[in-house]
């Protein structure tokens, strides 16, 4: 089974801090994604990456950056955390093709609940 691991389940940081959220997948997936989940808003895409060192902005990239130095790891960075970034953050990965040459869905980690005080 695909395993997507987010390094922290809960995180509390202070306003202005630089925050790193880490995500690792073990299935050699090309694509990786960061979402934030807020009540009533569903999941919104922050950034995604389709290859090492490649990144694309999602729908709400402001205040965030990402890093993908290795294929299995995708980091989300809050350059200067603010209270409106308090949220649940979900990482996902996928591959364009699987053994049966089908398009595969995204596989999700368990999420990081981040509180900015």
């Amino acid at each position: 089974d695909v395993k997507v691991t987010q390094s922290s389940r809960y995180l509390v940081k202070r306003t202005g801090e630089k925050v790193f959220l880490e995500c690792v997948q073990d299935m050699d997936h090309e694509n990786m994604f960061w979402y934030r989940q807020d009540p009533g808003l569903g999941l919104r895409l922050i950034y995604f990456s389709y290859d090492v060192k490649m990144k694309e902005k999602g729908d709400i990239p402001e205040g965030y950056s990402v890093s993908r130095e290795k294929k299995e790891r995708f980091s989300l960075i809050l350059e200067s955390a603010s209270t409106n970034q308090t949220s649940m953050y979900l990482c996902a990965s996928s591959s364009p093709r699987d053994r049966d040459n089908s398009n595969q869905p995204q596989h999700f980690g368990d999420g990081t609940r981040l509180s900015i005080l």
Binding site: P96, F108, D110
Partner: protein, 115 residues
């Protein structure tokens, strides 16, 4: 641009009763369609997906969904709900011709199961 509407924020169903969660999408052609479930404190787990072919798709945990092109809908159903089905359910769509397998999610429906 694609969009997904889940009109019900909350639904309460008695244990053993049937369930239908609604999902409507806006897209020029037939997108790829997904249902995910999120149990409390967990990430999202794929229930089922539709790419093409038979419009009634079977998923895990006894769930099924029916794609209706004329109604732009992909409603999720289960004949008999169990207390363990209480969770949040997300419908999602993907452009079959899009790159990078980006998903667009609905806002979710929280299912409550009463005894």
């Amino acid at each position: 641009a694609q969009s997904v509407t889940q009109p019900d924020i909350h639904i309460t169903v008695s244990e053993g009763a049937s369930l239908e969660l609604r999902c409507n999408y806006s897209y020029g052609a037939t997108p790829y369609l997904f249902w995910y479930v999120q149990s409390p404190g967990q990430g999202l787990q794929l229930l089922l997906k539709y790419f093409s072919g038979d419009t009634l798709v079977q998923g895990i945990k006894g769930f099924e969904a029916e794609f209706k092109r004329s109604q732009s809908s992909f409603n999720l159903r289960k004949p008999s709900v169990h207390w363990s089905d209480a969770a949040e359910y997300f419908c999602a769509v993907r452009d079959p011709n899009g790159s990078f397998q980006k998903l667009v999610f609905g806002t979710g429906t929280r299912l409550l199961v009463s005894p």
